[in-house]
Symmetry: C2
Subunit: 206 residues, 2 copies
């Protein structure tokens, strides 16, 4: 695809670096931006430039934050004895949107994946161990994806934490709320039978 | 979706303005950008800012150009007696990629669409008429989409140009080269039978 302007070509190349965006979609994005007025375009560019300078990561839980300590870690009304271990910030956003969790988080920044060359040292696991060493942490909820990589990471954390007096838990897996049994996949349905819970506790949790 | 930082929220809102991009995809894009090093992010932002200032439109054909006159309009080896009328710059790129066309273009900047409130005055039709008034133009190829709006625009141009000694043509429609007949849609196959061409001319054009 030959573009009629070098600058256009350059802009398309930048947008084509976004995940899942090819040259055609990138061109569509750039042409859309060109239809905006110049002030809006400058606002756009300014926002992206600010990202480079103003976005920091919380020094405790590694979530995105504008300060050194994120709002959740500096909130004294949250339960600091419970840490939810997650892959990235999107999981934090998803869990926060449920309004069901009042503890803190720890963003690993990925999961152990030998195929992609990601080992434990590439993740924020050592800072997590340091948080637990302080002795204030009672429970660690491992909310990692239920994939082979997620399971590997869970098992790695389980081994590393075996000597600490901390309860390890993972998210319950099962048929989604409101779903028909016949449409659930076999693995999920099987899990939800094996991991069945006392009826009484299912009432009290509702 | 509540995001943990106002700046992040703002950046996501900017990206969510792109065509076909919702808040979730926008967040995915922004998190991807945040994983880049700050220099790359600044380069990104600088490229977008340059778009606002350095991209101009050719004063003759309205194609995107870095100068007042685009490369095609200022190229004396192109055939300036033929103008291909197109909806937007993407059509120019597509036709240029075929290497089969050596004339010039005229970008309308849209097509007549009463539903979307786009009338002839919103398009670059008057400048096109002025180009034709000079008398140097012999043929006008209307390469607009074969939709109702495209047909309306073609008909409008046909009416406006009836008094000028210029040949009007449109792209041929038919079964795509290499396609099986059985998979062609009925309208296209019907058109390609009605608009059949002498066998001899199909050989000489290959």
């Amino acid at each position: 695809m030959n573009l009629p302007s070098q600058l256009l070509e350059q802009a398309v190349a930048e947008f084509a670096k976004l995940p899942g965006v090819g040259k055609k979609t990138a061109l569509r994005y750039v042409l859309h931006l060109l239809r905006q007025n110049p002030d809006e375009l400058k606002q756009w560019s300014y926002t992206v430039a600010r990202l480079a300078e103003e976005i920091h990561y919380c020094e405790i839980c590694f979530a995105i934050s504008e300060k050194n300590k994120c709002e959740i870690c500096s909130n004294s009304s949250r339960d600091h004895s419970t840490i939810c271990v997650i892959e990235d910030i999107r999981d934090l956003i998803a869990i926060e949107n449920t309004s069901q969790y009042h503890g803190t988080y720890h963003v690993l920044g990925g999961i152990i994946s030998p195929i992609n060359g990601i080992g434990p040292m590439d993740l924020h696991i050592e800072p997590l161990l340091k948080r637990i060493e302080t002795g204030d942490v009672k429970e660690l909820i491992m909310a990692l994806p239920s994939t082979m990589e997620g399971d590997t990471t869970n098992f790695y954390l389980y081994k590393r934490l075996s000597s600490f007096p901390v309860t390890l838990s993972t998210l319950s897996r099962g048929v989604p709320v409101g779903d028909e049994l016949e449409y659930a996949d076999e693995v999920t349905l099987g899990q939800s039978i094996l991991m069945r819970i006392p009826y009484e506790s299912s009432i009290t949790r509702k």
